[in-house]
Structures are given as structure tokens and as C-alpha cells.
Symmetry: C2
Subunit: 610 residues, 2 copies
């Protein structure tokens, strides 16, 4: 066994020799950035090890490390196998990863009528002439006489009744009894809307009386250490029941931490949270419920379930009321999940006139085309490029991330937090590449300009930024002298290829859906961009790079965290909950991998042209 201590925070764990530092960090509950699942290919899990402890001849991810980093003891945590006691310094850049709003102040359009209802009951006392059992006495006073027996609540019912002099508040949802509390507690009724993203998990604490969001919080999905994309998670989960359980535990413990904080900050007891509505992609739904997602990985991409699932909070270990309900919104298919159904709910796609295209660009890209009483869906392997993964200097939308790029005589940047840039986030990446295409830094094909006569057409300061890197040409977005790290922040040819593949897949998916629906560009009434990403993206840049079909820019509308909003609406309204089931059932899923026309559309969509 060896002891490893992590700074800042001074967390110490004991692990067996041979464990990687990345695994050790996971064991210590420390969130290292890692998007490749410890394969040594993303270069993000950099940590600093005390000098002299490691064999300097070994490769600890050298290609991702500058000379100065190597000298200072920086290594990739996934490349280090611990052999003796170590002290490790973790980069502290994660702190404000969720600077951006979680959508607390986003208004949602829903009539508040939640399935969770509280009833204050003034019951008569039993007598020898009226020996009605406590449970029957309760149910007789409820609107729903078919309320199901709940052993866990029955266990202590006599005390609750008699301590409160038979004046109690019953909380019900459909034919379930969730709680019986002494006195009149109808004024306090809370629920959670939970959006489990592959990258980020957001929790909204909702007041079920007012329908208002009381508070919200977000964390990086702790499963991220096993890879940035769903496939890495599926691969890990498929190793066995323990690994599956580990992934489930990670996400639930992450949620429990948030819930604890939300309760504390808002002086709410966990027992006052009666329901949690959960959305996420199909893999996240499976992992959240601890259900084996293995068959989602390879074709034919078979989920275990598709329907809405309701379980007691206790069964999952989610720290709301133990007998409270956790409701997982239904999925459409293996790669079109509850989050997409929630987007349909939030966008009210069933009520909008004409044809609506809705695109949710997260770690995966899900596309909805609704109109003519049909809903078509598909998903594309957009890859996590838009979230900064697989991009050399990619990072999440945190302080130091370049979020806007303009190329004129030189490069102008907007950086989150108004600090020096250290990397680039999704919206910055799209901006950068759109501007590079427009300025002639890249060809239509995506290749970085390198023919002298083409280079010569560029402003001198732009020319200087194009150079030969290790893996081909690269474009310097920010010089080391101006950057937070002192390193040049560059976009490599490979980065551009990653973006190209992602945007090409999305556009091709959109075109296939339009073809299936039998409509052309002129029929599209609106393009809705869901996801936090949609809020920050430049619509013009998205059109410029061909991420979206070539509609007038005013038809494009960002609708914010629609998945989270949809979850809130399902929580707040019985009707929306029913509608989620109906919309999921109505949706026709197109499996792009089976379509012979997809490859054509995909290749067509790779180019940078409008």
C-alpha cells in the first residue's frame, strides 16, 4: 500500500502499488479533468508530482507536456503508476467551471399542477365503536380512495397520528402516498428537476406551490473521469456489475452533494423534497438507474428500456424523502434520450405551427424535426469537440476560456472571466473556425492554408500565426506572452478536423430528417438551439461553418437549457408528465447508421461553405 496526498485540500488515500494516479484521484474523490477515460490520449489530467519521486526516463505523457512543465514535475495522472508514497498538486482551474448560469432565472411556460399534492386532513379519533385502522382512516380522507398501501409509511403511522392529534398532512402523487406529516405543512413542498448531462449535471430546486426555482447548482458529471463521451462510460460499465455500480454511485453521490448544499442554503429538509424528475441521454438514464448499458455501445444499439421509470428514492439512494419518487423521463431510442424529450416539452414542439428543427448540441448531438403531426429524431456522433474534449487547448466554458474570436488584421479575443486565455471552449472554437474560414486561414476543405500565394493574401499578423506544429500545421490563437499559462494557445489541424467531423455529422443528420419529412429549407419555420451551448454560440458563426442549415439568421433562436426546463415542467405539471410519455411514443427515430444516404450527406457536409 502507498499513501498519496493531494493538494490543495490535503486529501490522503491509501491505495495498492500499481494504481494509476488518475484512479487514485478518483478514489480520493478528486475531480481531475479527463476526457479519454485514462487512455493517455486527451492530455488533460495533468498533475504536479514532488520532484525526484518519478523515474525521469519514463514517458508520463510527454507529448502533452512542455519542457518547463516536465521540469516542474507535471505529468499526466493516468500515465503514472504509484509505487511509493507521493504528494501531488492538482491544478486549481476547476473551481469556477460552472460560472455560467444554470438557468435559474429562465422562465418556463407551464401551468403549475404537479403530480405531488399535499392535503391537510383533520381526522376523527378512533373509538371502540369506530375501529377503522389508521391506514383506512387516512385513505378515506384522501381524494383518491385507491391510494396504495405503503409499508414504510405505515411503520410509524400511529405515532404521527397521535402526536399530531390526528391533524396531519398527507403528500400523495397519483395513487401513491409519499408522506404523512403532523400538522399543516401544505406550504412547504419541493421537488428537484435534474439534468444529467454527460459532462455537467444540473439540479434545480423547485417550489411545487409557486412553480418557481428556489435555487440551482451544477457539477461536472463525476463519471467524466471514465471518459468524456458516453461510449467510454458504456465501455467501463460493461466490464462488470461492480463498474456499473461504481458509475451509478458516482452520479448519485454527486447529486447528493448538490442536494445537501441546496437544502442547507435554502433551509429545506431533504424530507420536504417529494419528487425528483430526471432527464439525461439514454446512457445517462441507464447508468443513473444502475441498468447495464452495454448493448447501447455496439450496433444495433439496444437500450434495456425506453419508457418512463419511477422508483422510490430510497432504492437509488438519492437523498430526498426516502419514500419520494424519482421519475426518469422516457427515452426515444439508444441515442435519443429523456433529455431530448424534455427539449420537446420545453420547446412545445407539438404546439408550434409549421416545421420546427431543434438541435441539442451537448456531448452528443440530438436533432428533432417536428411538424405535420410527426416528430422525427436522430442522433449524431457529434463527439465532445464542442465541449472542449479532443481539442488540444479545448476546455469547458470556465474562466480563461476563449469564447469569442474575431479575425481582422490580427486576432481579437473575448475570454470568460476577463482573464488571460488558457484554452478555448465550444463557442470560441466555432467562432475561431468560422472566422478562419472567412478570413481565408483555412480552405473549404478545412486544411490550414500553407501555399505561399494563399498565405500572402493574409494580413501579416495572421500569417505569423500559421506555423508547422508537431502534427501538422497549426494556428496560434493566443501568443504565450498574452496567455494565462505562458504557452501559445493553438488550434491544430487535428482540432479543425474534429470540429469538421462533428459539424458535418449534425448537418447531415438534419438533412436526413428533412428528407424523411419531405421538406426543403424553405419549409423550416425555425431552428431552436437547445443546451447551454446554444446560448453562447454565435449564430452567424454556426451558419458560417455549416453547423446549421442555411436559414436566415433571425430564424435561429437559442432556447437555453431546454432539457432542464423540460424536466422542471414535467415536475410541475401532471399534464406535461403525460405529454412527455406521449411525445416519446410519437417520436419516430431514424437510425442514421442504417441509412445508405447518410454517408453521402455527411461527406457533403464536411466542407466549410455556405
Amino acid at each position: 500500500m502507498a499513501k498519496v496526498t493531494f493538494f490543495p485540500g490535503k486529501k490522503t488515500v491509501e491505495i495498492s502499488e500499481g494504481t494509476t494516479l488518475l484512479e487514485t484521484a478518483i478514489a480520493a474523490g478528486i475531480q481531475l479533468e479527463s476526457t479519454c477515460g485514462g487512455r493517455g490520449t486527451c492530455g488533460k489530467c495533468k498533475v504536479q508530482v514532488e520532484p525526484g519521486k518519478l523515474d525521469s526516463h519514463k514517458d508520463y505523457g510527454n507529448k502533452f507536456l512542455s519542457e518547463s512543465e516536465k521540469e516542474e514535475g507535471w505529468v499526466l495522472a493516468c500515465k503514472v503508476q504509484v509505487q511509493e508514497d507521493l504528494t501531488v498538486q492538482v491544478k486549481d482551474q476547476q473551481k469556477d467551471a460552472h460560472r455560467r448560469k444554470t438557468g435559474l432565472d429562465q422562465s418556463i411556460d407551464v401551468e403549475v399542477n404537479p403530480s405531488v399534492e399535499k392535503h391537510f386532513l383533520q381526522l376523527s379519533r378512533p373509538t371502540v365503536a369506530d375501529q377503522t385502522p389508521d391506514w383506512d382512516r387516512l385513505v378515506a380522507a384522501l381524494p383518491n380512495q385507491a391510494t396504495l398501501f405503503n409499508r414504510r409509511i405505515a411503520v410509524n403511522l400511529p405515532n404521527v397520528f397521535r402526536d399530531a392529534n390526528f391533524q396531519v398532512t398527507a403528500t400523495v402523487a397519483g395513487d401513491s402516498l409519499l408522506a404523512v406529516e403532523g400538522g399543516d405543512t401544505t406550504q412547504r413542498s419541493y421537488g428537484l428537476a435534474i439534468d444529467i448531462g454527460t459532462t455537467t449535471t444540473v439540479v434545480y430546486l423547485m417550489d411545487l406551490n409557486s412553480g418557481k426555482a428556489v435555487d440551482s447548482d451544477a457539477v461536472t458529471n463525476p463519471q467524466r473521469v471514465f471518459g468524456a463521451d458516453v461510449l467510454s462510460r458504456i465501455t467501463y460499465a460493461s466490464k462488470g456489475p461492480e463498474q456499473l455500480k461504481q458509475l451509478q454511485t458516482l452520479v448519485i453521490e454527486g447529486l447528493n452533494k448538490i442536494i445537501e448544499g441546496l437544502c442547507k442554503n435554502n433551509q429545506i429538509r431533504r424530507e420536504e423534497i417529494y419528487q425528483a424528475v430526471v432527464v439525461g441521454n439514454t446512457t445517462m438514464s441507464h447508468l443513473f438507474l444502475g441498468i447495464d448499458p452495454t448493448c447501447l455501445g455496439p450496433a444495433p444499439f439496444i437500450p434495456v428500456f425506453r419508457q418512463s421509470v419511477q422508483v422510490e428514492a430510497l432504492e437509488l439512494g438519492l437523498n430526498i424523502l426516502e419514500t419520494g419518487h424519482v421519475v426518469v423521463v422516457p427515452n426515444v431510442a439508444g441515442y435519443v434520450g429523456a433529455d431530448t424529450v424534455a427539449v420537446m416539452i420545453a420547446a412545445k414542439v407539438d404546439q408550434l405551427p409549421g416545421y420546427t428543427l431543434a438541435v441539442d448540441i451537448g456531448t452528443n448531438g440530438e436533432i428533432i424535426l417536428a411538424g405535420g403531426k410527426r416528430i422525427l429524431t436522430c442522433s449524431t456522433a457529434a463527439g465532445p469537440a464542442f465541449e472542449g474534449a479532443e481539442i488540444k487547448y479545448g476546455m469547458r466554458a470556465a474562466d480563461g476560456a476563449i469564447e469569442r474570436v474575431k479575425i481582422t488584421d490580427d486576432v481579437e479575443l473575448a475570454v470568460i472571466g476577463n482573464t488571460k486565455p488558457i484554452g478555448i471552449c465550444g463557442s470560441g472554437l466555432i467562432d475561431a473556425i468560422a472566422q478562419m474560414a472567412e478570413a481565408g486561414v483555412i480552405y473549404e476543405s478545412g486544411r490550414i492554408v500553407n501555399v505561399p500565394e494563399d498565405l500572402a493574401k493574409l494580413p501579416p499578423k495572421i500569417q505569423e500565426r500559421i506555423r508547422q506544429g508537431e502534427g501538422g500545421f497549426e494556428f496560434v490563437i493566443a501568443w504565450g506572452k498574452d496567455s494565462g499559462s505562458g504557452e501559445d494557445v493553438v488550434l491544430t489541424q487535428k482540432d479543425i478536423r474534429e470540429l469538421q467531423l462533428a459539424k458535418g455529422a449534425i448537418l447531415a443528420g438534419i438533412k436526413i430528417l428533412m428528407k424523411e419529412m419531405g421538406i426543403g429549407l424553405e419549409h423550416l419555420d425555425r431552428v431552436l438551439l437547445a443546451g447551454a451551448f446554444g446560448n453562447y454560440i454565435s449564430k452567424e458563426s454556426a451558419l458560417q461553418i455549416g453547423l446549421l442549415p442555411d436559414v436566415p439568421v433571425e430564424q435561429i433562436k437559442a432556447i437555453g437549457n431546454a432539457a432542464g426546463n423540460g424536466a422542471k415542467m414535467v415536475l410541475l405539471s401532471k399534464e406535461e408528465r403525460k405529454k412527455a410519455v406521449a411525445l416519446a411514443g410519437l417520436s419516430e427515430h431514424l437510425e442514421l447508421s442504417t441509412r445508405s444516404d447518410f454517408q453521402d450527406e455527411f461527406i457533403d457536409a464536411l466542407a466549410f461553405e455556405r
Copy 2:
């Protein structure tokens, strides 16, 4: 802390000083006989402590101990507070407590059609053209398309399907899926019928295909250490959630031990037991489910629930299939429980012509009067006298128990196990007192004959047996020279009073029901005796002492362990399960304590006259 070691078996536990030896035995999992709940009044928890360890001036239950016992270090375990390490010898008389049959070979009249059904399914493999989720694929092949989602089964479904090449057996019950197993397992399907008596718990392992009992076993209800009657258990449970939980755990662990043995002896895996049907009185049903029975204790005797309850085995920790169902048969009222409903089922009281009286004499006495499309029930505080508690030499129907008594010139005995007598069981007690009444050893009032002229009428050997004891007169049933312990086995005046109160309560209850039904003795078509007790009782003696109304002896019929048989029938037949709910609902419960006429009937019923 002090260490206490119990022999035989050499079990050692550590406990805090001041703990009683009875509590210590409970902690060690040792079943001491105790029927007063540790109050020092039953005198049954005798153990032998190594010499010199206890203060010889203290009273460790002296009135229950002979001089020789005191010298040998015998004490009542409940009277000893442990102060230092001790070695304790426990009487080994418990071993064969359940020598009598548990009803394995009793035939039941039921058409086998259990709610648990197995379906062998040959499913098609998914393809990209048929991406139906595993769960939907399964449900589509089941007879019931409304089968509910079960997360626990879904967790591992992909493996089960693919390991078995999509040839699986689904086990369902109503709209629940209980299990999915690879291959065709339809030939193996088992269930348990469980009868939780206040004194004895019996488990029948049933083959759900054939409807036959494969095996059965019984144990003393481990809760018995907290008192022989339900009131002692209620009192203990009402002390707090921990005590309630303790009682629940005791009964469930007891059942789990039986289940383990039944599985092992019959080469059945616990996962092949898909359902358990449980009957017991209302208190036992509450404790089994861990539901607070406090309000059953004092008037107005309010149960928490009355209906049939179904929970997953996992929730209770009962070691059958985790997702299997535990079905608790409905109760009628606070003191007429599921066991009485099971008696109605087994006796088919709804189908018999005319009027049927059914009496279940266990630790409590429940009475059913059915006829004219009505079912009346009541319960009487029969007390545990018939099971040997509160009777000085009372014992259960185990080896050494006097089970038949005949008084001629002298006393003739039949003893279970053909050994020397050490005590008397319920049937022996009724026989003895009936014979004493008939022979003139007791007056009609129940008083032991002591007036010289009355004594003189008795045969000389009988006269010798009447003597002054510590608490009044007593009658020697077996002389020490003939007994197993060397002690005289006597019936005391108090013992006779106990029996009088018990039989008086039952007869009064019967009379109240008949009055309520508006029928006389001449209308009664049959008297059914339920319970193991009914099998062994002498009908003539029962009539002699006035335990039953004065019908012709041929109208009295023992129907064996009718509660257990009813449980088997509910397990084996959907229709019987429905009928149990219907009969419980139809039953009209008479609360005797509210009836002004009960006291009159009771006092009338105390005398020994026909």
C-alpha cells in the same frame, strides 16, 4: 463488559454488566423458554449457573425452584443480572419441541392456479432494423402487456438475454415481473406458505406446479422471549423503533433459518421461491411487516392496516427471490387476523350449507360463525393456558408432555414420546380437568374438592393426590417417582382457574356470536376445530369442560392447521387469494369488550357443567 458462555453449544457473548441472563441469552441467539417476558412470573427460564458465582442470599426466582435445584445452581435467567464472566448451562428440553406434525401430509382441496406463472419465451434477436429495447421485447412476449417495469430485473437483463441466446423464462405474478432466467425453467417453481403463530411459526415449501407440499418445518416464534402472549410483544414493540425492529428481525431471521434448511434439504435455490404467503394474527402481521402495533394493545384496539399487503422480499429481508413477493393475507380486526381469514378459506365457510362454527384456539381464541350469507367473528383473550403458559407444569406438546389423562381408581396418563412425564400440554390439561370434573375432584365452580365428606367419595389413590400446596390446593397428576424430573407434576388451583377463564371466554364468545346471528344450538350444523391443538384435543373432554357449546360430539370436527392450509391455498390459487380479500371484507367483527352482555355470558360460562 462481561463474557457469558452458554452450554450446550458453547456460545459466548459479551454484554454490559447489569444485563439480565435472559437478555444475554437473547443476544446469544439462544431460545430460553419464557412466557412472561422476563417479569419473573412464569418461572420457565431456568438455567444453571456455575457454583459460587452468584450471591446466595439473593432471590433468583426461589418460588419456582426446588431446594435441590437451588443447591445445584439453578436460577431464573430473568432474575440474574450479570456482574462478571459466567458459564451457564441451559436445559436441553427444547430440542424436539415440534415433534408433532406440521401438516405436511394434510391434503387441501384447491385447484392449482397460482398467481405466480412461468412463461418460457423464445425471443427474436434485435437488429438495427428492430431496435426494440430488451424490456419491451420481453413484455411484448408476455400475456400481460401491462407488466410493470422492474428496475432490479432490468439491471442485468442484457446479459441474461444474450447468455441464453434470447431463450428465457419469465416469472410473473399479475402485472409484476418477478424474474427472468435463461433457458426453460418452467418445471421449477416454488412458494412458501407461512403461518406465524404467536407461539410457533410453520413454513410449508410448496411446489407451484403440482400444488404439493415438498417439505415443511416449524420453530418456536423467537419473539417468545419477550412474552408468550401478543400483549407482551405489543408492550415491547411500543418501547421504540429499535424494539419494534428487533421483533421484526427476530421473526424474519427465524424464517430465514427455516428457509435455508428447506432449500438445502430439497436442493432448491432461494431464487426459485417466487412468493411467500403469510398468515398470522393481526399483531404478528404488524410485527412481521415492522409496523408499529402499539395501538392494538389498549382499547380501542386500532390496527394500522387491515388489507392484504404485498411487498418485495428484499424490502423485508426474507430470503426468497429478492424480487419475489411476500403477500400478507388481510386481517379482519385488531384481534381477528389473517390466520382467521385463512381458516375461513381452508374450511370453505362460504360454501358449507347451514351454520358453521369454527374455533381456532391458539395463544388467542378466534371464533367464526358463518351462515345465512354472513360471517361473524370475535376474539377472546383465551390466554396462552392451552399452550402450557401460565400453567405451573404446563409445556408445549413436546416429548414428556402429558397429552391424555384418564381418572379411574387412579390416574392413567399418555405421554408424548412414551417417556416419563415432565409436564402437561394443552390437550392433557383439558383431559385432566374434564376427568377431574367428572370424577368429582373439582366442584362445578372449579374449586378442588377439600371438604372431607366429598373427599371421602373419591377412590383412595385419588384422595392421596389432593393436597395443600404453596398457593392453595393442588392435584398430583404424576408422582415424582414416575416423572422424568423426579418432581411431582401437579395441577394447582391457579392452573384450574387459568383454564376456566380461558374456556369461559371462548364459550361466551361463541354464545354472543350465535345470539348476534339469531340462532340457537339446534341450528349449528358443525363445529370445526382449527389449529394443531384441535387435532389432539379430546372432543368429549372439550364438551365436558364446556369449552364448546353442547352439540352432539359427532358434529365436532378437527380440521388441522387450517390457518396454514388456508395460506397454502392462497399461494396456490389466484381465486383463493381474491376470496381471502372478499371474506375479510365480508366479515363482521364483534368487539366483545363493548358488549354489555359479554360479562354475563362469561360468568355463566365459567362453571364446569354440561
